[in-house]
């Protein structure tokens, strides 16, 4: 039992660092530091740089472009990416639909989609949630009726992140209403250019427009775009939700944010913008967060190691999600507290954060509001607790 990296792992870390120092464009790094909104083009550009290096999709099977990395290497890669302020790729492409097609797709689907997914030649979105079926995902109602070689889709999805940019959607649809609600769900790949699809943006409290409603009116999808068997979509979706347990806590990001808050504390104290009492309290709050974050980092490493070893850390992914999102949110609370009344003014979307003095002040409020979603999306923290209570505690 030890926590040290091996020489090989340290060498790998240096390799990742060198690559990031050389290849991450300065303007992207700056945007990330200022917590500004990333455009689709920003994400695509970076993803292609990673893809050229072979690192866009490290968690995929090696034969489809993945990397044969150890858990420690995966951890190092994620941490270095975050500490270097590198954007995260599209989770829908890289963490969700890619692995699903690699595991459950036909050879034709793999050939058609995987390389394009890795390079974001196609931008994907996820069509799971529906009005009336949020945390109770299986109660979804969007219908897909078989008509010859096609499904005809009618219904509505909601909270579809970045549907406005998407070329494709992977969606759960109902092909059978007779049995248990988890049955009769089918997993389809839908070309967003198909006639009958309407996307309506939803403004969120952080001022963003990344959430959408997507309406389907007799949308025809070829049967060849079905993943796996009809009626087994729920199983494929569950597989997807259990994926990526090593990344779900977003430790690297939180560490980078904590480091930024520490820098701010020093800077503001030096400038006389914090009273001695405020400085002391802030330092205590930062130390408290740091303890929890260090603990969570080790918890995540234990989970990763257990996955690699004898397998199955039970409901560990849910624990990582709960504590990880709490810490992400806590970090944004500290920032908005520090911003104070100066943080009231919202930056205009076209405004460049870098052009503002104290860009962190302008970013504090939108970021605080935006991060409320992390304890809601992907199964609310209350649902995660239900899962742990049942799966791990047997309650």
């Amino acid at each position: 039992m030890n926590l040290d990296f091996t020489d090989e792992e340290l060498a790998f870390r240096d390799e990742v660092r060198a690559f990031l120092a050389q290849s991450l464009p300065d303007d992207l790094r700056r945007k990330m530091i200022d917590r500004r909104h990333l455009e689709k083009d920003d994400i695509v550009r970076w993803q292609r740089i990673l893809n050229a290096r072979g690192w866009a999709t490290p968690n995929w099977p090696v034969e489809h472009g993945g990397q044969p990395w150890s858990p420690a290497q995966r951890y190092i890669f994620q941490e270095e990416m975050a500490l270097a302020h590198a954007p995260e790729g599209s989770p829908f492409n890289v963490n969700m639909i890619g692995p699903i097609i690699a595991k459950f797709g036909t050879d034709a689907q793999k050939a058609r989609f995987l390389a394009r997914i890795a390079n974001i030649d196609d931008w994907w979105c996820q069509g799971f949630s529906e009005p009336g079926a949020g945390s109770d995902l299986a109660s979804l109602k969007t219908r897909a009726d078989r008509d010859g070689d096609e499904y005809v889709i009618n219904g509505q999805k909601i909270w579809t992140t970045q549907a406005q940019h998407a070329d494709w959607m992977f969606a759960l649809v109902r092909t059978d209403s007779s049995g248990r609600k988890q049955q009769g769900i089918t997993f389809l790949l839908i070309d967003m250019n198909t006639p009958g699809i309407t996307v309506r943006p939803i403004e969120t409290i952080d001022g963003g427009h990344d959430a959408n409603e997507v309406f389907f009116d007799d949308v025809r999808v070829p049967v060849e775009n079905r993943i796996g068997e009809e009626g087994r979509g729920w199983d494929y979706a569950k597989h997807l939700l259990g994926n990526e347990r090593s990344g779900i806590a977003r430790i690297g990001l939180s560490k980078e944010r904590l480091a930024q808050l520490r820098r701010l504390e020093v800077e503001l104290s030096a400038d006389g913008r914090l009273t001695a009492g405020e400085r002391d309290r802030l330092r205590r709050k930062l130390a408290e967060v740091e303890v929890e974050l260090r603990a969570l980092e080790l918890t995540q490493l234990r989970v990763v190691a257990a996955d690699a070893g004898e397998g199955g850390a039970g409901a560990a992914a849910s624990i990582l999600k709960i504590k990880g999102t709490e810490l992400q949110q806590r970090m944004t609370e500290l920032a908005i507290e520090l911003a104070g009344p100066a943080g009231l003014a919202m930056p205009e979307e076209e405004e460049s954060g870098a052009a503002l003095e104290d860009g962190w002040i302008a970013a504090a409020a939108p970021f605080y509001f935006s991060m409320r979603k992390v304890s809601i999306f992907g199964g609310s923290n209350e649902i995660q607790k239900n899962i742990i209570a049942k799966a791990q505690l047997g309650l």
């Binding site: 949630s129 009336g132 079926a133 949020g134 945390s135 109770d136 109660s139 909601i158 909270w159 939803i202 403004e203 969120t204 409290i205 952080d206 001022g207 959430a211 400038d271 006389g272 913008r273 914090l274 009273t275 009492g277 405020e278 309290r281 609370e333 908005i336 507290e337 520090l338 911003a339 104070g340 009344p341 100066a342 943080g343 009231l344 003014a345 919202m346 205009e348 003095e357 104290d358 409020a365 939108p366 605080y368 509001f369 409320r372 979603k373 304890s375 809601i376 999306f377 609310s380 923290n381 209350e382 607790k385």
Partner: protein
């Protein structure tokens, strides 16, 4: 000891509540927020007609002689509606500075127009790069033979873009002082911004703005004392506003839990969510108690007043954050859309904590004073 409203207070409450119900539903608020000015002149005019705008001014100055309880009643109801109009900026902040510091002539020129809804004002005090809260400023006012020349930069000026006149804090040889500065004076530049809570704010740049002798508000060097008094009143008002928001937000959340179905039952049947609502209710009740304390403290001696209000701000800062965050969480995704009320309530509660000293700031005041002094219920 009496927690009952007088008949007049009850009538006041009913009339403001009716205004909110009839004229200020959530859709109406959204429309007002999306209008160019970010609020509604019609609603403002209604508030003038209801007598709200002259409420805290004395009758001899052209107001209605209302006290802390009357302002509490109004602010709580305005909170329920998440009202966007410049009540705090014009009536409580700038109006407060005028009440406490203005000459008879300065009052006469302004209070009747404020009460009639004709004069919009704003307090321009906060500056970039300083402490987050305090009665100090780096802007300067230089004495000239015929008046003053003001230079400085102000941020987070609530309703600054529509103000006809500003109360500006600036440093003279005598210390911090307040000045009445017309928004149209040469050298004044106003940059409108959207506030995250829907309340418009502005940056106000003063570039060698020449004002006359009559622009000095109160004594030269007496600005800090006036500001502290005004901040106390503003915090008492915000505490009441927060109670209105929190109570309404709890109502909205409980209604949602009763309606929203998941797993075949209303989600309000889940015990963990029920208990969360109870925790919210406890915060609402505790905050209401402190809003009453703050309102009744306004007529008490300075130390008592200051610390009671600090304690109230601690309670609503923490309680408001809890209620806001939990209301969003319990709603799930719909809680974070701009199309639904709770997200806006959450943001306004966030802003209320940030204004005029947050919970931590006021806790420090209590620590420095060695606690809340006894005696708000008779001498001890």
């Amino acid at each position: 000891m009496d927690f009952e409203y007088s008949d007049e207070q009850r009538l006041l409450r009913e009339s403001v509540a009716r205004f909110i119900t009839d004229r200020y539903d959530f859709e109406g608020r959204l429309r007002a927020m999306q209008a160019p000015e970010g609020w509604s002149r019609d609603a403002w005019s209604d508030m003038a007609d209801l007598g709200l705008l002259g409420l805290p001014f004395s009758e001899e100055d052209g107001g209605f002689g209302g006290g802390g309880v009357e302002t509490m009643i109004v602010m709580e109801e305005l909170g329920r509606g998440l009202v966007l109009e410049p009540y705090l900026s014009t009536v409580v902040l700038a109006g407060g500075a005028i009440r406490h510091a203005a000459s008879a002539g300065q009052k006469q020129a302004r209070i009747p127009r404020i009460a009639a809804g004709e004069l919009l004002m704003a307090l321009a005090h906060q500056e970039p790069g300083g402490l987050r809260h305090g009665p100090d400023a780096g802007s300067s006012a230089e004495r000239r033979s015929d008046g003053w020349v003001l230079t400085g930069r102000k941020i987070a000026v609530l309703h600054g873009a529509t103000a006809e006149e500003f109360v500006v804090s600036a440093r003279t040889n005598a210390g911090l002082s307040l000045f009445l500065v017309s928004a149209s004076a040469p050298g004044v530049r106003v940059i409108p911004q959207r506030g995250y809570d829907g309340i418009p704010v502005a940056e106000v740049v003063l570039d060698e703005v020449a004002t006359g002798n009559e622009s000095l508000l109160g004594e030269d060097g007496g600005g800090a004392a006036v500001l502290e008094r005004v901040f106390e009143e503003a915090n008492a008002a915000l505490t009441a506003e927060a109670v209105g928001i929190m109570a309404d937000t709890l109502d909205v959340t409980v209604d949602y839990l009763k309606t929203r179905q998941q797993f075949g039952v209303p989600i309000g049947s889940f015990q963990a969510l029920q208990h969360r609502c109870v925790d919210m209710l406890i915060q609402v009740e505790q905050s209401r108690s402190m809003a009453i304390l703050a309102a009744l403290s306004l007529s008490q001696p300075p130390a008592q007043r200051c610390l009671n209000i600090a304690a109230a701000k601690v309670q609503i800062g923490r309680g408001g954050r809890f209620v806001g965050q939990q209301a969003v969480q319990l709603h799930g995704a719909i809680g974070i859309t701009a199309e639904y009320k709770v997200g806006h309530a959450f943001k306004r509660l966030t802003a209320i904590d940030a204004l005029f000293g947050d919970a931590d700031h006021h806790l420090d005041q209590l620590v420095a004073a060695g606690g809340i002094p006894p005696g708000n219920r008779g001498s001890n």
